[in-house]
């Protein structure tokens, strides 16, 4: 039952475009004590149905750029094969540490984007109003 609650919260975060998958992996390892590999594997299954459903809606609404998609998918699949082979073979302790470093990097990128959107642009807008 708890996994359903955790995945609903992660699904909401996904909808907000903030990395629901990353959060689900953290939740599963923190609250269910799941192994890093198993938590990451769960996230894959978590992602697929939502992604299929939203892609159907997005394609219908003509929000998808297919020209870009084709290139990204071809090289993305090559990249993900390499990534998956390496991570499935990697020691679980090491994978957890690297994942920790990864989410700190993600958080810092998000913090920078947050700053640009809500602080910097807001100041610029205010200046525009004043002048």
């Amino acid at each position: 039952m708890i996994e359903i609650v955790l995945s609903i919260i992660s699904g909401v975060i996904s909808g907000l475009g903030m990395g629901g998958g990353t959060v689900l992996i953290l939740f599963l390892s923190i609250f269910l004590g799941m192994d890093q590999h198993v938590a990451q594997a769960t996230n894959l299954v978590f992602f697929i149905p939502t992604a299929i459903a939203s892609s159907i809606i997005n394609i219908k609404n003509k929000n998808v750029n297919f020209k870009v998609s084709i290139v990204i998918i071809i090289f993305g699949v090559i990249g993900s094969i390499i990534g998956a082979i390496v991570s499935t073979k990697l020691d679980v302790y090491l994978l957890k540490k690297i994942f920790g470093a990864f989410i700190i990097v993600i958080a810092l990128i998000q913090l920078y984007l947050w700053y640009i959107r809500y602080i910097k642009n807001k100041n610029r807008n205010n200046k525009n109003i004043k002048t």
Binding site: I48, P49, G83, A107
Partner: protein, 115 residues
């Protein structure tokens, strides 16, 4: 073209290695490097990550890392959460939610490294 190849490869590498975070790479890359609008960037990123995730899932399944009982429950929760998310999207102030999320990530990341 080279930019697209590099962005795709990097997103795939991360998506395959961590099984997550592909969108967090693709969306800013689409917006800031390929100059696409945000709505198209988000929609395109989901479609692009889907095949990467399916390929990664095959490797994880072959290594017996998928606990199908829990995974299917999470898939169900994910669908419910996504529907709720799109409904809540207009009502929640993004700014504070995002900073809360960022602080949670920083805390969790430091914890994973220290422990």
């Amino acid at each position: 073209m080279l930019k697209k190849i590099l962005v795709g490869f990097l997103a795939g590498l991360i998506s395959g290695f961590f099984t997550a975070g592909g969108g967090l790479i693709l969306v800013p890359a689409f917006v800031y490097i390929l100059k696409m609008d945000e709505k198209t960037s988000r929609a395109t990123s989901i479609l692009c990550i889907l095949p990467m995730v399916i390929v990664t899932a095959i490797f994880y399944n072959n290594s017996h890392f998928i606990n199908w009982d829990i995974a299917l429950k999470c898939a169900l929760g994910g669908v419910i959460g996504a529907i709720l998310g799109t409904k809540l999207l207009k009502k929640i102030p993004d700014k504070y939610l995002k900073i809360t999320f960022i602080i949670f990530l920083l805390y969790a990341g430091v914890n994973l490294i220290i422990k």
